[in-house]
Each structure stands twice: as C-alpha cells, then as structure tokens.
C-alpha cells in the first residue's frame, strides 16, 4: 500500500513536469533568426517593449508608432532627408487654398495588402473614427485642427460636421479651423493613418490585436507577432513604392535587459541597438557608434506656486547654477547638447532652423557669480534669510537618479544649497506635478509635431501641460495670436518673442537637448533615425553583401 502511494506521488510530479514541458513547447516556434548570412536582406532590431496596441487611432507610444509607420502610409511620409514632399506618401499632390484653410489631397493609385484600392473614403472613415467619442482615442486631439473635430469628439457636434470629405475615390478635402503649417506633417502621424474601412467595420475594438486584424498600405506587412516575444515584418509586395524597398524581412525582438541587449548586438543577433547609458564608453570609439539629437528638451521645472520658486530671481539662480557642459559630458554622455533655450535645434522656423533664428542661448551656462547674486536678491525680495527645505522630484529610473544627484551636487557646490531628492514612479511623478505637490522637478518634453509651437503653447496659463503654473498675459497673447496667424513670418516673430519672455521669467530652467546614442553594424546601409516620431525609418535600408 505504502509503495503504491509513493509511486502515485512520483507519478503526479512527473506528470506535472511533463505537461508543463509540453504546454511550453506547443506555444511558439523559435523566431529569433540569426543573420548567419549577411547577404540576405534581413534586418534584426529590438523593440523596448511589446507594442501596447496596433490600432492606429489608439496608439500613443513610440513602439506602436515604430511598427505602424512601417506598415502603413499616410497622405504624406517623411522622406530620407526628413522632409515632406508631394508624392512621398499616398497623396501624389495637394492644393492649399489662399487662406491656408482648405487642403485638397489627390491620392495616388495604390492598393491595400488585400488587393483593394486605397480610397479617400478610407481616410474620411479613419479620421472620423479617431474623433468618435466611443472610440475613446487618447490622441483624438491631434485632429483638432480640423473644423468641427473638437465639437464631434466632445459630443457637441456630429460626424457630418467634421470638415473632412471624400469628394471622390481619389480626392480628399479637409478644412482647418485656423491655418496650421504643421498640418501637412501631421498627416503622416499615426493617428492620421487609415486602415481599410471594411477592416474597421469587421473587427471594431479588436483592430490591431493580431496581424490578421490589420490591413497594410506601407513598405512592410506583419507576418508574425508572438506577443511579448517577437514581431516579424515582410516586404509588402503590393506597396506602391515597393521598388524602393530592398529588405525582405525585419525581425524585432523585445529585449528589455540592457546587458542582454548589448550581448545580442555583440553576438550579431541584432544589427543595431540604442546604446544604454552605462555602455556608451564601450562603443564610443568603435566606428559603429553615432548619436543624434532628438526633438526633446529636458529642464528643471519650478513650481511657481511654491513659497520659494514663486520668486523669479531664485528660479533663475537655480537655473544659472547648473553646469550643463559638465552635465552632458560627464553624466548623460550620450551626445546630448547643453540647453540654454526651450525649443531644441532642428525644429524649423520660418526660414531654416528656429534655434538659429532666435539665437542659440538666452543665458550663460554655469554662471555661478550671477546665480549667487540672484539668489541673494530673491531671498531679500521674499524677506527670508534662510531657504526652507527644497526637494527635487524625479523618476525612479537609474538614469533619472543619476541626473538628479548630479544637479543636487551642482546646487550644493555652486549655490551652497542642500536640495533633497525624491524619486517616484513615472505616473506618480506626473500626478504630483498635476497637483502641484513639488518644488522642482526634472522633466522632459518631446515634440508632437515639427514646429516650435509644440514646445511653447504648453506654457500658456490654462494649458493642461503647464504644471509649473506659469502665467504671463503677454506670453498668452503672443501664443494665441501665433496659433491662428496665417502670415508665417509674423508668426515666427511672435514665437521668438514668446520664447524670450519664457526664458526671462524662467518657470523652467533648460538643462539639455536630448540625444540618443546608437550603434549600427557596418553592413547595414541607409537605416535612418528620424528626429521625432518613430525610432527608425528602414524603408530604404539594405544589407550590403560582403
């Protein structure tokens, strides 16, 4: 009897083990293809995480955008040199009315991956879907430039009142509520990317959860998606510009651990990675290394309602006491640029780079003498002889902690002020900023679209993103005027003027314009790293034969 039970127990354990092994095996086949032969047109890249959703109207994060912009084409598409040109996307040309309000797009003959023609109706349907309150799209506001869009989304208007209309199969007419030079660029943005109308109708909320619940119009199609593990793209044979696409396959892994990522690159399992901060020294002189500025500014944001930082001179003192050069050279080390203004370089102004038009710097970096002076002045204005405890809020990532400590050190050394650091989870930080539960915070802002306005309108008095609670009527007036100004030269002047005011009041002390370090294997050619939007553009990339 006893012996039997023992056998039963052992049997059970073995059975469990076996079933587990079988269950694990059934699920998925290996997909991390190695590029043993470099002559094959296969590119291996890594995504930092699983794309949260591949529903173009619901996607908001960079990983989803990375995939969607390679499998879908918009009316426009950024060209190799980062420009929007007629014919670079699904619109072969467009007409803009003299008042800058009405855009008429003429679509090229192109097909969905299921063989059906791409029509203007698909666009109209997709854009209205993004605005439909029942879709609950977070990025619906990206379409608020269109007349009637906001009203429909907030339940005050109807879909028919949204001024986007398919005049015929190949002509789409859009009327804006105010001139917006960034609109053409926006039509390449993910929220504006359509799927075929019938696909929306068939899958509803399930759109984009699996490859078969999508239809493709871009350079690639998704051939396989193993959730949390890998995505495989194949060349889209039906793409209108398929002769430009040389890659046959793009494999994405989803590695999150930095060390694993680097080892996969070193072992040729990946052809290009973004280099984690701690590994920059390892690659810096390798010849495979580059870095590129992103359209993102990082700054110390002051709570202008806090007892100390309501004083502009104290804010300036803290901003001037930062040694930005040392910060980017010793701390970030990733090619970031010291920031002495809000709008990063590379964002276009009226005639060339906005940063060049407005001047590179509004103040001097590491201006310790002036900083000390201003602190003294500010404190006497507040009538205090000693600063209360000041806390710097930051994220709880390794990088953020390092950055916060560097700033803390600089303030101690240059101003003699002891600043406390509070590191919290990202969403908790955002919530504390919203509620004004902070003194100052290291925060960043990336461009929504390629125009200085995306960095400046956020500081208007009632803007939800203005968690510095900054308010200056003169500033508000300039921004409000610039927003609707059809005279682009005058608009540019207004934006320059506004930035000047912002940098004089200093609700934020800019620290650095973010760059990103990456390595690419030498046999990978024409892989582009756009300034904003997605991580890569590999429509034109190819593998060079050895």
């Amino acid at each position: 009897m006893k012996g039997h039970k023992k056998i039963v127990i052992i049997g059970l354990v073995l059975l469990m083990a076996l079933s587990a092994v079988l269950a694990g095996c059934g699920g998925s086949a290996s997909s991390s293809a190695s590029n043993s032969g470099n002559d094959k047109q296969v590119l291996n890249l890594n995504l930092i995480q699983e794309p949260p959703t591949l529903d173009p109207q619901k996607a908001t994060d960079v990983v989803s955008i990375d995939i969607l912009t390679e499998v879908l084409d918009g009316l426009t598409r950024y060209d190799k040199d980062g420009k929007i040109k007629p014919g670079s996307g699904l619109a072969k040309s467009w007409d803009i009315s003299n008042d800058g309000l009405t855009y008429t797009f003429h679509l090229r003959d192109a097909k969905w991956s299921d063989g059906n023609p791409i029509t203007a109706q698909d666009f109209e349907y997709a854009w209205k879907r993004a605005l439909d309150p029942n879709t609950a799209s977070q990025y619906a506001y990206q379409l608020f430039y269109i007349k009637g869009a906001e009203e429909y989304n907030s339940g005050k208007g109807s879909a028919d009142q949204v001024a986007v209309k398919a005049l015929d199969e190949k002509t789409l007419q859009v009327t804006l509520k105010a001139p917006a030079p960034q609109f053409l660029g926006l039509t390449s943005f993910v929220t504006y990317l359509p799927l075929e109308k019938s696909v929306y109708e068939k899958y509803g909320d399930k759109v984009g959860t699996d490859p078969d619940k999508l239809v493709y119009s871009g350079p690639f199609v998704i051939s396989q998606w193993n959730h949390e593990q890998s995505i495989t793209l194949k060349k889209n044979k039906d793409y209108w510009d398929s002769s430009s696409v040389k890659l046959q396959t793009v494999n994405f892994s989803m590695i999150k651990d930095n060390n694993t990522l680097v080892q996969n690159y070193d072992n040729n399992m990946l052809d290009s990675i973004f280099v984690p901060g701690d590994y920059i020294d390892k690659y810096k002189n390798s010849g495979e290394y580059s870095d590129k500025a992103l359209a993102t500014t990082w700054y110390v944001q002051f709570n202008t309602k806090s007892p100390v930082f309501k004083n502009a001179n104290i804010r300036k003192a803290f901003a001037l006491a930062i040694d930005r050069k040392t910060f980017v050279e010793q701390v970030t080390k990733d090619g970031s640029i010291p920031a002495e203004a809000m709008v990063p370089p590379g964002v276009p102004g009226y005639n060339g780079d906005f940063r060049k038009e407005a001047g590179e710097a509004y103040f001097k970096d590491n201006y310790v003498a002036q900083a000390k002076e201003l602190l003294k002045k500010g404190m006497s204005e507040l009538g205090i002889s000693k600063l209360p405890t000041i806390t710097l809020l930051g994220d709880d990532t390794d990088n953020a902690k390092k950055y916060d400590q560097a700033l803390q050190q600089m303030w101690k050394q240059n101003l003699g002020v002891n600043v406390q650091i509070q590191n919290v989870a990202f969403k908790v930080r955002l919530d504390m900023m919203d509620k004004g539960n902070y003194d100052m915070v290291l925060a960043g802002w990336g461009a929504d679209y390629n125009d200085p306005l995306t960095f400046l309108d956020m500081w208007e008095t009632n803007n939800g993103n203005n968690t510095a609670f900054y308010s200056n009527p003169e500033y508000d007036k300039l921004i409000d005027e610039a927003k609707v100004n059809g005279d682009l030269k005058a608009r540019d002047e207004q934006l320059i003027q506004a930035e000047k005011i912002l940098m004089n009041d200093m609700p934020i002390g800019p620290v650095y314009f973010q760059a990103r370090a990456f390595v690419v294997k030498p046999y990978v050619k024409d892989l582009y790293f756009p300034t904003f939007g997605s991580d890569w553009e590999f429509k034109w990339a190819y593998i060079q034969n050895n």
Partner: protein, 309 residues
C-alpha cells in the same frame, strides 16, 4: 475527507475574495490612473476614455462590476494593452513561466535533496562543506548575478547556448539553472537540518538493530521523516516560481508572466494588477491544499490525527 475538502474550498474562496477586495481598493489609492500621461489630453477626451472603461463610475460600483465579471470568469480588458483581455495575456504568458518554473523546481528539488541528504550523512566531511558553500552562494548571491554570469560564460563566450530568447528546449537551460539555485539552497539546508534531527532518533537505532540495509534505513526511515518541512515550503515556493520571475525573465527575454506583476503596477493597469494577483493567489492556495494532501500521503500520523477529530 470530502467534508474536509469542501471546507477548505470555501476557505479558499473567502481568502480570494479578501485578496481581491484589498488589492482593488489599495491599487486605486496609488496616485494617478491608467490614463495619466505626460502629454495632457483635453478633459473631454479623458472623460471619453474613463467612460469607455467604466472608470468614471464611483469606486464601489466599479468594484461591483469587477466582482460580477470575475464570477463569470472575465478578468477584463488590459488598460495598457488596449483591446487585449487580461485572460488572453495570462493564457499567452503563463506557459513560458510555468515551464521554466517547473524545470527549475525539478532541478532544485532533486539536487537540493541530494546535497542535503549527503551532507547530513557525511556531516563535517567534504560533501558537507561543499553543499554548505553552494547553499551560501545560492542564498546570498541574487539570481540575476548568477544568470548574468551564466549568460556571459556559456552563451556569449563559449556560444554553447543562446544568449536570450524563447522557443526550443535549449533556450530554457540557462534560465532554469539560474532560477534553480535558490530553491536548491533552501532545500538542501533544510533537508540537512531535518535529517540530522532524524538520525539521532531511537527508531533509527532500532532499524539498524533490525538489520535493515543502509539504503532502506535512509530511504524509508530517515528521508521519509525528514522530508516534511521541505514539503511544507515547497507549496509556496512552487507557486512563486511557476507564476514567473520578473528578473530572470527580463534577463533572458522570456515572454513569461513575471513582468506583468511588476509592470502593471507602474502602468496602473488596474485589471492587469488584479488579474495577476488573482492568478497567483489561486495557484498559491491550490498548492497549499496539495501540500496538505501530500502530508497525509507521506505521514500516516497526519491522517490519523484528522480522522480522530
């Protein structure tokens, strides 16, 4: 026995209900919500989103919805991976964690018991010190260091095994070994201590006097008596390991469940937090139940005591 099982089952349900309730209200106390984002969206859009996922209702109503869905086996839609259900995500991720967990437990238990038994029998000898050394390493060195070292040596340098990924059996070897270390250490130490207790007992002397073979004494009398504490810890240990481990899965890039336990809290993905918590709790409670049954099978005295009541 049936009566006993039924009672245990009812207790299990109550335990789960308490866990769900506590988790539900605690997670809503975290500042922010699933749709807190760096770029503020117009208030109306926020309202549309909250309404779509029923987050605009009073908390107690949301709680009611949740319990109702839960009873029907529906864990809801993930608030991060919009459009995907928590049931689907768990179904897709659990097998990898499960396979990895079971393999590492088997490794850990077999070698843990072996080392523990040998260490006790050869107390003070080379084996004893070797197993103690191994156990100290296993307990004091975090498994991510062991994992990274294994990865560097066996995968990156020697290229015997893949660096990371998931698919065939060879991908599971390194993570299973890395994961088994702490199990191995705990079990070998525990087994050694409890074996030493047993070795001094009178019935061992009796067994020897009866002329039983060395193997029979060890297997029937020593191990059987000494294994009880190990079985006790095995329940929670298995539950913890088969539901996925964040760090090991991250290092080897394994599409398991581990990351959801951690990441869902950062994302404030309410349905995912609850889903993973419930999943873990169910497995834990079931494992404890199995351990209870195993007691009875291994040690007749346990059954007698219960039967006597």
């Amino acid at each position: 026995m049936l009566n006993y099982s039924l009672k245990r089952f009812v207790y299990m349900l109550i335990t789960l209900w308490v866990i769900v309730t506590l988790t539900f209200f605690l997670m809503h106390m975290i500042p922010g919500d699933p749709f807190t984002s760096e770029k503020k969206v117009p208030e109306q859009i926020r309202q549309n989103m909250l309404a779509k996922y029923h987050l605009d209702k009073p908390l107690i109503v949301q709680y009611g919805y949740y319990l109702n869905n839960l009873i029907h086996g529906d864990l809801g839609i993930s608030l991060k991976y919009l459009n995907r259900t928590v049931d689907d995500i768990i179904k897709q991720s659990a097998p990898a964690s499960f396979q990895l967990g079971i393999q590492s437990i088997i490794l850990g238990v077999i070698f843990g018991l072996l080392f523990g038994i040998i260490a006790a029998l050869k107390r003070g000898g080379g084996w004893d010190y070797f197993s103690m050394f191994l156990a100290i390493i296993g307990i004091s060195v975090p498994n991510f260091i062991i994992a990274t070292l294994l990865q560097l040596l066996l995968a990156s340098k020697l290229k015997w095994l893949p660096v990371s990924g998931w698919g065939s059996f060879k991908y599971t070897i390194l993570p299973s070994i890395a994961l088994s270390f702490s199990t191995l250490s705990i079990i070998s130490r525990m087994m050694r201590t409890s074996m030493l207790d047993v070795i001094g007992q009178d019935y061992i002397k009796t067994a020897k006097a009866k002329g039983l073979s060395q193997f029979q004494i060890i297997w029937k009398h020593m191990v059987r008596n000494a294994i009880m504490p190990v079985v006790t810890v095995l329940g929670p240990l298995i539950a913890g390991i088969v539901t996925g481990t964040f760090v090991i899965e991250q290092i080897f890039s394994i599409p398991g469940l581990g990351k959801f336990f951690v990441q869902s809290i950062y994302d404030e993905d309410y349905s995912m937090i609850l889903g993973t918590t419930i999943f873990y709790s169910v497995i834990l409670v079931v494992m404890m139940f199995l351990v209870d049954i195993a007691y009875g099978l291994i040690d007749p005295r346990v059954r007698l005591a219960k039967g006597g009541k």
